[in-house]
Every structure is written in structure tokens, then in C-alpha cells.
């Protein structure tokens, strides 16, 4: 266990140093959600039935969760890159704890995400989003968000170890962009046709988004929604737990596979 902790800490350190060495990349990756907030909030939002300020408050939690879901993409790309460039193979030939490499990546990602979300929150506040709930609820929301990010990153790491090619991971990663489109992150699901609504509401992004809206006090839990959305906190915890329980062992196994 101490081997794991030591190696894991070294791996977290490695990932954080990489971010520090390429700060431009980290800044650029934060531009996207901020742009989307402004674009969706003011351009698309003007065509929606919901009034603008209300829609922007509705949108901020959605974008937070959509960005967290981007962990699939970053996790995958980084794991594939490390594999492709031979860094993984060097680790594999070293006496390094098998779990430390994938877990180190996921934990480091969490730290980067926690800091990286601040610009989106600040712009959100500037366009009228507010935390209406209690501090405890707000902290709970942040906790759920980070847990979900961790879960998404483990999914990504597993997929990245599987694809092994940087190009393939890049392509596949870009297509994860559609995942939040099929959820309640950007639009309310109430008006969708029945089957599409069910699909969107069983999307993990919907449960976490609803939980955040509820805990931040931005929007009420919609009536008549599928179970994970109707019980958003439990739904978010369940989704994250399932994803981690399935994909973390798979990622560790895949890393150690020879």
C-alpha cells in the first residue's frame, strides 16, 4: 500500500508538472466552456421560451457538468498519448505499482479541473448565475461535480489504454462532445418525445446537472422525470459509483496487461 501511495504521488506530481510546463494548453482548454456559456447564453438563449437571465442560470450547472464529462476526452487522449509515445511502456518495465499510473493520472486531473473550473464560475457569476442554496449544499454540489469528473476520467483512461493511438483517441474524444447534447445540460428535457426524453434523462450528465441545479438553487427538479433525474443526488452518486466500479478496475487491468 505504501508503494502504491508513493508511486501514486510521484505520478500525480508528473501530471501536474506537465500542466505547469504547458500552461497555454491548460488556459486554452478553459476557453471552450466559457465561450459556450456566452454563445449559448446569449445567442441560442434568445430563441428559447425561458427568459435570458433564467436560462443562463440554468446553463451554468449544465456547462459545469458537460465540462466534467470532458474528462472522458482528456483522460483518453492523455492515456493514449502516453502509450503511443512509449512512456507507459517504460513505467511498465519499472517496479511501479500497477494501480498508481492510471490513478495518478485521474487524481492529478481532478486537481487541474478544480482550478480550471474557476474561470467558468467567474464568468457565470458575471452573467447572472448565483448560488441560491446554502453553503453546505453548494459544497455538496462541488463534491458531486468532482466525483463525476473522476468517474469520467477513469472511463477515458481505460479507453485511451485500449485505443493506444493518439489519432484515434483524438477522433473518438472529439465525438464525446455530443454526449451533453443528449442530456438536460443545455435544454430542459420536458419537451422531448418520450423515448428521446428517457434516453436523455438516463444520461449520467442529466442526473449530475439536475443535482447541481437543485443544490445551487438554480432550478427545481423537473416533475415526471426518470429515476436518476427525479432523485438527482442519489442518481449522481449511483452513476459515478457504477462508472468508477466498472472502469477503474478495467483501466488498472488494462495498464498491467501484457
Amino acid at each position: 500500500m505504501s508503494t502504491f501511495a508513493y508511486d501514486g504521488a510521484a505520478m500525480v506530481g508528473r501530471q501536474l508538472r506537465r500542466v505547469r510546463n504547458s500552461p497555454g494548453l491548460a488556459v486554452l482548454s478553459q476557453l471552450m466552456p466559457v465561450n459556450m456559456l456566452l454563445f449559448f447564453g446569449y445567442v441560442f438563449g434568445s430563441a428559447l421560451a425561458m427568459p435570458g437571465p433564467e436560462y443562463r442560470s440554468f446553463l451554468v450547472p449544465g456547462l459545469l457538468v458537460a465540462t466534467a464529462a470532458g474528462g472522458v476526452m482528456t483522460g483518453m487522449f492523455q492515456a493514449a498519448q502516453d502509450t503511443h509515445r512509449g512512456v507507459m511502456d517504460r513505467f511498465r518495465t519499472m517496479p511501479v505499482s500497477r494501480a498508481a499510473v492510471p490513478l495518478g493520472q485521474a487524481v492529478a486531473d481532478l486537481a487541474v479541473t478544480a482550478v480550471g473550473t474557476v474561470p467558468l464560475l467567474l464568468v457565470g457569476l458575471a452573467v447572472g448565475w448565483r448560488v441560491e442554496g446554502s453553503a453546505a449544499e453548494a459544497l455538496g454540489a462541488v463534491g458531486l461535480l468532482l466525483l463525476f469528473r473522476f468517474a469520467c476520467t477513469t472511463v477515458g483512461i481505460f479507453l485511451g489504454l485500449l485505443t493506444r493511438s493518439e489519432e484515434a483517441a483524438g477522433q473518438l474524444g472529439a465525438s464525446t462532445f455530443v454526449l451533453p447534447l443528449l442530456s438536460n445540460a443545455y435544454i430542459p428535457t420536458g419537451n422531448l418525445p418520450g423515448w428521446l426524453r428517457a434516453l436523455a434523462e438516463w444520461n449520467p450528465i442529466s442526473a449530475v446537472t439536475t443535482a447541481l441545479r437543485d443544490l445551487f438553487g438554480d432550478a427545481p427538479v423537473p416533475a415526471g422525470a426518470a429515476w436518476p433525474v427525479a432523485h438527482p443526488v442519489a442518481g449522481s452518486l449511483a452513476w459515478s459509483a457504477v462508472l468508477i466500479a466498472v472502469f477503474l478496475p478495467l483501466a488498472v487491468r488494462r495498464y498491467g496487461h501484457r
Partner: protein
């Protein structure tokens, strides 16, 4: 424990789908020696290294690295080896210094920062130490790779084509480092495309072909198997077949024609084939002879003689 062989493998097999990359690899590398694994592309060199460094699991056979079972005790094997190669690489997003510190930490080296500084100095990377490794030249990158393998001294060092693609100066630098390591008692197993490199570095050469060992021996032993190399330089293209016929008759080996240099050569072990006789026979066959020689074989000759010849190696 006394291990006479740092690498000992028996009947290692590996297949990838239909392709049998290794078909029973037997290796015995003495402790403290440098073993050169030679073979044409596709002979199984890289697969062999990947198996022996725990990156791949053999389908059959067994091996002991530094006394540890490759399959059952992979963790102990990993504690005894280091790998530098085409695939096991450093992290380009980290600086040279950060890479070495990371590997030193993972190896539980005491004073990782000092160790990193020491290695950077030894491999002439101090000036570039705080730049990202992705921006290094090929030679610097390879030196950093090798340094990363030496953060703690490995019992067995695997080098997969350590000098491929490097300029001659960088190549020599790497070779000197390898030689120094072997002198210090580290066992080195290296694959290379450069026969001259194997000749200079290796104590023992293993010729690999189609996933099997075809010959083993010191460079001198392997060359002795061939004897001498008879070569004739002729005046024009038309004379090449004529000269080849003579050499074929004299040596019994299939002569090798070089249309650019206008030479014909063949290995011989016949002690009665002297230089005067070679010249006389060629002259008698009316070959317009410009030069003739009998020289000790190079490893190239050994390579050509014992390995399946594909176009790319002719």
C-alpha cells in the same frame, strides 16, 4: 545467490494472430557481458526484448532474468532491469531534469535531485536540463533515455536499437557509455541494425532469423566460420558475371555482386585459395581485373551468409 547467466531463456514463443514472431528462443547471456541480438527486420528482435522486459507474456517457454522467473516473478525482474529503446521512452512534456527525478523517485533512489544532476552532467545534458525533452535533438533524447535507465544501476540493461537514426558523433557517445557500463559489470543485451556496432560492443552475438536463433558466438568465432572473403574489382559491368563464375568455382559459395562498385565477393574457408591463385584464375578467365583481395570477413559477411536474405539486406 550466484547467477552465471543474467539472461537465460528456453523455448520462448510468441505469436501475434497468424504470425509466429518467436519460435523457441534460447538465450544464455553471461553476467557482465554484452550480448548483441542481430537479425533482419521481422526476425523477432523487438519481440524478444519486449518479452524479456515483461512487456509481453510468452505463449510458451520460460526465462530467468537476473535469477528471477520472467512470468511468475515479473516484479522482481522489473527491479533488476532497465530498458531503453524505440518504445520505452521518456516523457516529452517534462524537462530532462524532471524526467530523471521522476524515474529516480520511482526507483526509490535516495537523493533523487542529486542523482538527476549527476546523470545530466555525465550525459552532457546540464545545459538543456530545464528544457522540455520534446524539444531535444535525437541524440540528446537518446542520451536522456539512457540516463533514465541508469538512475539506479540495473543488473541487466536492455537496449533496443540504441543508436538507430543518430549521427556518428552521438552514436559514438552512446557506445562509449554502453562500453563503460559493461566494464562496471552491468549485463547489456542490445539489438542493433549496425553490424559494426555489434562487432565493437558485443562479447557475444546472437543471430536471429524468423523467430529463432541461427548462430551464436563471439564476433571472432562467427567470422572464423566464414574464413576469408575473396573480392575482385573488375573494369566493367560485363565482366561481373564472368568473375562471379570464377569465384563460384573457387569458393563454392554464392558470390555477391555489387554493380555500383563493380565488385564480386565470396567467402572462403579454403586454405589453398591464396591471392596469387585468385589473380591467376581470374586472369585465365579473361576477367579485366583491376583489383583483388583476400580480407578477413566483416560481420556483414556473417550476416549475409547465415541469414535469410531479403531484398532490403542484400
Amino acid at each position: 545467490m550466484t547467477t552465471t547467466y543474467a539472461v537465460l531463456s528456453e523455448g520462448l514463443e510468441k505469436r501475434f494472430g497468424e504470425v509466429r514472431a518467436l519460435r523457441g528462443l534460447d538465450l544464455a547471456v553471461r553476467q557482465g557481458s554484452v550480448c548483441g541480438l542481430l537479425g533482419p527486420n521481422g526476425a523477432g528482435k523487438t519481440t524478444a526484448v519486449r518479452l524479456l522486459t515483461t512487456l509481453l507474456r510468452p505463449d510458451a517457454g520460460s526465462a530467468r532474468i537476473a535469477g528471477h522467473d520472467l512470468v511468475r516473478d515479473a516484479a522482481a525482474v522489473r527491479r533488476s532491469i532497465a530498458v531503453t529503446g524505440q518504445y520505452a521512452s521518456v516523457d516529452g512534456d517534462l524537462t530532462g531534469r524532471e524526467n530523471l527525478r521522476l524515474f529516480a523517485r520511482l526507483h526509490r533512489v535516495r537523493g533523487p535531485n542529486d542523482r538527476a544532476a549527476e546523470l545530466l552532467d555525465r550525459f552532457g545534458l546540464t545545459e538543456a536540463a530545464d528544457r522540455k525533452a520534446a524539444g531535444y535533438s535525437g541524440g540528446m533524447r537518446r542520451r536522456l533515455d539512457l540516463a533514465a535507465s541508469l538512475v539506479r544501476r540495473p543488473e541487466v540493461l536492455f537496449l533496443d536499437e540504441p543508436t538507430t537514426g543518430l549521427d556518428p558523433a552521438s552514436r559514438n557517445g552512446i557506445r562509449e557509455a554502453v562500453r563503460a557500463l559493461a566494464t562496471d559489470g552491468t549485463t547489456v543485451l542490445l539489438t542493433t541494425q549496425y553490424l559494426e556496432e555489434a562487432d565493437r560492443l558485443a562479447d557475444e552475438i546472437v543471430l536471429l532469423d524468423r523467430g529463432r536463433v541461427t548462430r551464436t558466438g563471439s564476433p571472432a568465432e562467427l567470422k572464423a566460420l566464414i574464413g576469408w572473403y575473396a573480392e575482385a574489382v573488375v573494369a566493367d559491368q560485363d565482366a561481373l558475371p564472368k568473375a562471379a563464375a570464377v569465384l563460384d568455382r573457387l569458393t563454392g559459395a554464392e558470390p555477391k555482386l555489387d554493380h555500383e562498385r563493380l565488385t564480386v565477393g565470396a567467402p572462403t574457408t579454403d586454405p589453398t585459395l591464396t591471392l596469387p591463385r585468385l589473380v591467376r584464375e581470374l586472369d585465365a578467365a579473361a576477367v579485366p581485373l583491376l583489383d583483388a583481395s583476400l580480407r578477413p570477413p566483416t560481420l556483414d559477411d556473417v550476416f549475409l551468409r547465415f541469414l535469410r536474405l531479403t531484398g532490403s539486406h542484400a
